[in-house]
Structures are given as structure tokens and as C-alpha cells.
Symmetry: C2
């Protein structure tokens, strides 16, 4: 219905999550009214950002440089590793401004229903990181069935090694998404973590 | 807080209307997980779409080819011109599947408050299109103060030329609840009542 440049942009945008056909079209009209230079920046950021993105070989977070800034930060505590499901959980936790240890991104959670087992997420890589320096592994997977199963599984592997394993507290509403928790709730959950 | 490729994409996306920092970040993470080829398509569509966009020299709609597909469609009635404010209004009206005339996009509305006068929108271009072939000009500017002012202004210019000038009707939206309609809409709907 709309003109070809609009259709072209809108059809691509509507493939993104949370952007329906209506808002894709609205965004497309907005983009066609922007100065060329700003549209170039937008398109370049998407393409270059995607191209430059790699996975940190240590923690598994998304990064432009390997190792990522957190893993290469000498000021951070190397004796704590916080285990999360997704890269997007890292900035959510960093937002607390109270954790200064390292992270480990699993890129998924154990989910027999979806055929995702322990070997399909970065658990092996986590085990390989557990040297004598590591004093605590904080399991910050989501407070849902899969996150819970993943946490228990990892706890069972690590405990025999004599490393303290903690789980963030159920201060979070059950079934919620870690990414959307507010800082206060997240901080409380973090403080209230208990040994498994 | 998030890694650099994420920040780069998110900061650009959050400049778009209706995309806040949270959803920009969410979209950025989604984009970083897409296959390279799909991201290339997305970025290219935005950039190429913007670059190819021009204004139809006849109607003023956004198009990749001048004249636009509607203006060059010989099957459309050339004796009706529907006047709208924005390019985005054209697909909205096309969606009715009942209008087969031409369009004229003003790219704005008369608004003394914002310093926008008749010479700042494409009224001159509309007048230049009014040949003996044109039998009706349908004023489909928005039903707000500016749209109303623009419609009255254009009507005053065209009427002396002996061309029929119509204005889309005010009334209740289909499926609306009379109880919740505002007084202005309700009295307009009342005034505009027609014999059954």
C-alpha cells in the first residue's frame, strides 16, 4: 500500500521483536524524513555493531574486543563469578553498581522440554574457569523453572569442589524476567543470596 | 553499561520515536543474535530506502520513482484529488479499497502558532494541478484545528474556480461507544446526521 522505500524499510523493521506492521510503517516514515547523515549513522551502527560483535572467550558476553572489558578489568574481583543466562543480564546486574566480580554467560538454560541439555549451554566453559582463585560462584539465572534447574545442576557440579555456590534470592517475583527487574529488587535479591 | 556493539546500536535506535532506552537495548541484543545476512538486509533497507526516497513531482508523496505509482496509474480516476497532510495518510486511505482517484500531499498544515503559513505547504502545487479535468477536490486533512484551518483556506481558493470541494465527515468512529465520545465529536456527529 505504502510507497516502495517505505515498504522496504517497514518490512525489515517489522521482523524485529515488538515492532508490528503499524509501528514499522510509522518508523519507516520517520526514517525517510531524517537527514541522510543520520540515517547513514543508524544503518552503519546496526551493520558495524553486528559485524564487530563477538563472544568473549572467557565469560561468553557479547563484546567488540576479546577478552571483554569486564574480564580484562584488573580492578574487578577475580574470586567471584556470577553466572547468568543471557548477555543482556550482564548490564542489568552492572546497573546495581554493587557487584565487582566477574561474569559467566551461559547463553541459555537447561530445558528438557526444548531439548536443551547441560552440554548445549556454556557450563563446560564455566567449569574450566574454576581455578583455586575462585571463592564463590553466584548463580543468577532467571527465577523460573529452567533457570532453577540450571542453577541446581551447576550447584551439584561445583559444590564437591569446595567452592561456595550461592543463588540470588527469591526477592524477584516468580516467573519474572531478570532483565526487567528494577535495581532495588535486583540488589535485594543479590544481597539475600544464600549458599546452596 | 552494556558492551560496545550493543551501546552503539541501542543509542541509534533510541533516537527513533517510540523506542525508549530499554527497548532499544532489547532490539540491539536481538540484532546481535541475528544472522549476519539478515542484519545486512536490515541495514541496507534502511539506508537504500532512505537514499532512494524522493518526492513525487506531481502529488508530493514519497516514492522511489517519479512520478509515483499512483500518479502514473492510468486506471485511476484523474478527476478526483484527495488532499492529505502527510505521506503516511495515503496508505491509510488506500486501505479503504474504495477510492480510486489521485492524491495531493501537502507536507504540513497551516499553523500560525508554529509559523507555518499557506506558502510553507504544497498548496501552490495543488492549485497548479487543477485543470478542467478535475471535478472534485476532497479535503482529507486531519480533523484538528490546523487541519480545519488548512481545509477552509484551500476551499476558499478553489470554490471560485467552480470545482466541487468536499471535506471528509466528522462523526463517531465505527465501533465507538457513544457514552465515551467527547462533546465536540458528538455534536459534529449530530449536526452531520443524514436521513435514512
Amino acid at each position: 500500500m505504502a510507497s516502495e522505500p517505505i515498504m522496504r524499510i517497514a518490512s525489515q523493521l517489522s521482523r524485529l521483536p515488538g515492532i508490528g506492521p503499524k509501528s514499522a510503517q510509522r518508523l519507516a516514515y520517520h526514517i525517510l524524513n531524517l537527514p541522510l547523515e543520520q540515517v547513514r549513522e543508524l544503518a552503519t551502527s546496526i551493520w558495524e555493531g553486528r559485524k564487530s560483535a563477538r563472544t568473549c572467550s572467557i565469560c561468553g558476553d557479547l563484546t567488540a574486543n576479546d577478552p571483554c572489558p569486564i574480564c580484562s578489568d584488573k580492578k574487578r574481583r577475580a574470586d567471584q563469578i556470577c553466572v547468568v543466562r543471557d548477555p543482556r543480564d550482564v548490564p542489568a546486574l552492572e546497573h546495581m553498581h554493587s557487584y565487582s566480580g566477574l561474569y559467566h554467560v551461559l547463553h541459555g538454560a537447561i530445558s528438557p522440554m526444548d531439548g536443551i541439555g547441560p552440554d548445549d549451554i556454556r557450563i563446560r566453559e564455566l567449569m574450566a574457569r574454576l581455578s583455586a582463585d575462585v571463592e564463590e560462584v553466584i548463580l543468577a539465572t532467571n527465577p523460573d523453572v529452567e533457570g532453577e534447574a540450571t542453577a541446581s545442576y551447576i550447584a551439584r557440579l561445583i559444590k564437591p569442589m569446595g567452592i561456595k555456590v550461592t543463588r540470588i534470592a527469591y526477592g524477584l517475583p516468580v516467573g519474572a524476567d531478570l532483565e526487567y527487574a528494577d535495581e532495588m529488587t535486583l540488589s535485594r535479591a543479590f544481597e539475600g543470596r544464600r549458599e546452596l
